[in-house]
């Protein structure tokens, strides 16, 4: 719809919108996070949802204990290799559309425990992460900022066309392979469809 016509109509007291804008507005204003914490970041996540930082202002105060009722997974803390299959399975069990915030250094890269033999070096090896928050642990303000970033991302999603998000595309998968416990590492060590590590820059 023409932007000039829209503003002209709104001056006359007529509000116009599109299904896409309405859908995105509804989605971003009522995000239900999954209630699970893996390590110390979870304490900051709890603080963010409580009265002092008040995540409820952004419509995300209802932390659900069941993946069936949640659409945002906040991976808050160190993901051990023993826990990784469970995290991926929980993600698979969430209904579409679903989003992931990787909170803290551990969830995005392994953090200070990166050298640990049993620490997954970033949950984005197995599930698609929408927003990464650095910090050890990130303050509740950082989580709120990540949440606002996610809301902005939801707001810009297209309903049709090639740019539409995964859940609107019939060909895109809704479940991601759950890694198995191998002899030395998780098998597979990452999901190549999801994980695109940056190429190392070499100054030849």
């Amino acid at each position: 719809m023409d932007e000039g016509l829209r503003s002209e109509l709104s001056k006359q007291g007529i509000f116009t919108t599109s299904i896409e804008a309405l859908y995105n507005w509804g989605r971003r204003s009522s995000v239900w996070p999954l209630q699970f914490g893996l390590a110390c970041c979870a304490i900051e996540m709890i603080a963010a949802s409580m009265a002092r930082y008040d995540l409820a202002r952004f419509g995300a105060e209802v932390f659900r204990p069941s993946p069936r009722q949640a659409d945002l997974m906040i991976v808050a803390g160190t993901v051990t290799k023993k826990m990784a299959p469970q995290v991926v399975r929980l993600y698979n069990q969430m209904p579409e559309p679903k989003y992931v915030i990787a909170m803290g250094a551990c969830a995005i890269s392994g953090g200070p425990f990166k050298q640990g033999y049993n620490v997954l070096k970033g949950i984005d090896r197995y599930i698609p992460v929408d927003v990464h928050i650095p910090g050890c642990p990130p303050r509740p303000e950082a989580l709120i900022h990540a949440f606002m970033t996610l809301q902005k991302k939801i707001d810009e999603q297209k309903l049709t066309g090639a740019q539409r998000p995964r859940h609107l595309d019939p060909a895109a998968p809704s479940e991601f392979p759950v890694p198995k416990f191998g002899a030395h590492d998780l098998e597979p060590p990452n999901n190549p469809d999801v994980w695109h590590p940056p190429e190392p820059v070499t100054n030849a």
């Binding site: 069941s66 993946p67 929980l90 069990q93 049709t160 859940h167 609107l168 998968p173 809704s174 479940e175």
Partner: protein, 125 residues
């Protein structure tokens, strides 16, 4: 004079509105799924257990029927302790008749225990 309405018309109207109220969101959700958001079920998503772990074994676990006898003997002696406590508290002021009655009560229970022991109820097989 007020207009007379058939009394059941309201009820019928109410029924129609109630059904529409319930069915319309379902139809809209179905249409949304057809036109925009395709349904994508999978083995993980359809799993019964939702704690991230795979369920193992069968939910139809059987307990031995012997457990019932074991449990009921436990219950009897559990109740007996409730009687024993006031008995112990009031012991100094009790008459000989009351003491004998309590001993008889205990004897009956112990007799039952000996019988159950003899039957092999206390042996877990």
């Amino acid at each position: 004079m007020p207009v007379q309405y058939p009394p059941y018309l309201f009820l019928a109207l109410f029924l129609v509105v109630a059904v529409l109220f319930a069915v319309t969101p379902l139809i809209l959700a179905r249409l949304w799924a057809i036109f925009f958001s395709p349904q994508k079920p999978g083995p993980d998503k359809n799993a019964t257990y939702e704690c991230g772990l795979e369920s193992k074994g069968d939910a139809w676990v059987q307990f031995r029927a012997e457990y019932y006898l074991y449990g009921i003997i436990f219950l009897i002696f559990d109740v007996e302790t409730i009687f024993l406590l006031p008995f112990a508290v009031a012991f100094a002021g009790l008459s000989a008749g009351a003491f004998l009655a309590m001993m008889l009560f205990l004897l009956l229970l112990v007799e039952g225990l000996v019988w159950a022991w003899g039957k092999g109820v206390l042996t877990w097989r």
